[in-house]
């Protein structure tokens, strides 16, 4: 190797803002979430009770649960997209929304008559909910993975899992605009499964999908 390479690299040092980590991931998330939103609205449609649903506490509880998960997971993704990315201290933030959602679900469970418990837990769509969230997450995961390949993750499994978690949570946000389920226990169990599924996929596929040269 000669000095030519070093000289050539040094000449090519003009700042390239498109490569910046945060904006690049945000762009990917935006594109993925938009595709997901169009898909869910065209194929499933918005909640049939839409304007009225905005006045119901569980609509917002559900939305904030998955929004908070998506935000914490994206914070981790932003670190893991860097070679020296370390998330040990951030991972704890993921537990906070889950704990809050569990408390809300528990309160609702205790206050509801026993006859309602079955509905609170299983609703009408327990069998399809995780699958639909996984599907809604797919375009977001693809976009995030594409963005990360252009960055420099080195812990590929962890990075894949966290990108999957962020995509799952963002997909759940989109799906919540369609889903009419009002049980806290339902959200805690079935939504969380839908959010975890892409994370598991990301863990498995990370070393292949996120490898860069």
């Amino acid at each position: 190797m000669t000095d030519d390479l070093l000289d050539a690299l040094a000449r090519d040092i003009a700042p390239r803002p498109t490569r910046r980590v945060g904006p690049r991931l945000a762009l990917a998330l935006g594109v993925g979430a938009f595709v997901s939103l169009v898909g869910v609205m065209l194929l499933l449609g918005p909640r049939s009770d839409f304007p009225a649903a905005l006045g119901r506490a569980m609509f917002w509880t559900k939305l904030f649960y998955v929004l908070a998960l998506a935000a914490s997971a994206l914070g981790c993704v932003e670190r893991l997209a860097r070679p020296d990315g370390e998330v040990r201290r951030r991972v704890g933030w993921l537990a906070a929304p889950v704990a809050a959602m569990a408390l809300a679900a528990l309160a609702q469970w205790i206050l509801a008559p026993t006859a309602m418990h079955q509905t609170l837990l299983m609703g009408n769509s327990a069998a399809v909910c995780p699958w639909l969230i996984l599907t809604a997450a797919a375009p977001i995961f693809v976009a995030l993975a594409w963005a990360m390949r252009g960055l420099a993750p080195t812990r590929l499994r962890t990075a894949g899992a966290m990108a999957g978690l962020a995509a799952g949570a963002a997909g759940a946000v989109v799906y919540a605009l369609h889903c009419r389920e009002m049980g806290g226990a339902f959200v805690l169990i079935w939504y969380s499964m839908g959010v975890l599924a892409p994370a598991v996929f990301g863990w498995l596929a990370g070393p292949t999908l996120l490898r860069w040269r």
């Binding site: 190797m1 390479l5 070093l6 000289d7 690299l9 040094a10 000449r11 090519d12 040092i13 003009a14 700042p15 390239r16 490569r19 910046r20 980590v21 997209a81 860097r82 070679p83 020296d84 960055l151 420099a152 080195t154 812990r155 590929l156 499994r157 962890t158 990370g206 070393p207 490898r211 860069w212 040269r213």
Partner: protein
């Protein structure tokens, strides 16, 4: 390559702002630093180390925005270098030259030009093992001794030899085979 961490960091921050002179100085320093890093880990192979230095410098260049100026620079630098090294071992492994499994080690005993490459890769991989398992694997897999002979030499039972060899192979496969690049 005498620059200290704060100096390297200052150069890198200036480079990210578009300072070509600072960047050229940084690259010159990194070339030496990375060269030493790779040579040590490749068991002294200068040509391979040079290739890896070049690849790493290019990766540092094209992915320099992933450096967060609020963080120290050296950990970022060596995280890229370690990734490139792991990637190198994986690629070498995929061509069948490095010991990724027992079969690859068996093949590497046979003659031919490819085997001498393989032999060097085997030595690199073996160097990462504790001394006892290294000697044991060398005798068993490279010299082709039987389990009974190896057990006698190391004053172990045959079962213990099998277990130790299996563990050593597994640790090699984990380090150089499939799996994550840098998840500790």
């Amino acid at each position: 390559m005498g620059a200290s961490e704060p100096e390297l960091r200052t150069l890198m921050v200036a480079a990210l702002d578009g300072d070509a002179r600072a960047y050229r100085a940084l690259l010159g320093d990194l070339r030496l630093r990375l060269g030493a890093f790779f040579v040590r880990r490749l068991g002294g192979s200068q040509a391979e180390a040079d290739d890896l230095v070049q690849e790493t410098l290019i990766a540092i260049h094209t992915r320099r925005e992933t450096y967060d100026p609020r963080q120290p620079f050296t950990p970022w630098l060596f995280a890229v270098a370690r990734y490139k090294l792991a990637d190198h071992f994986r690629r070498v492994g995929r061509r069948g030259a490095a010991p990724l499994d027992e079969e690859a080690l068996e093949i590497s005993v046979e003659g031919g030009a490819e085997a001498s490459d393989a032999r060097r890769d085997v030595e690199v991989a073996l160097a990462s093992l504790p001394e006892r398992s290294r000697g044991l694997l060398r005798m068993l897999k490279i010299e082709g001794a039987t389990v009974a002979e190896t057990a006698a030499r190391f004053d172990m039972s045959e079962g213990a030899v099998k277990v130790a060899a299996h563990r050593a192979m597994k640790s090699l496969a984990q380090r150089f085979g499939s799996g994550d690049v840098a998840d500790d």
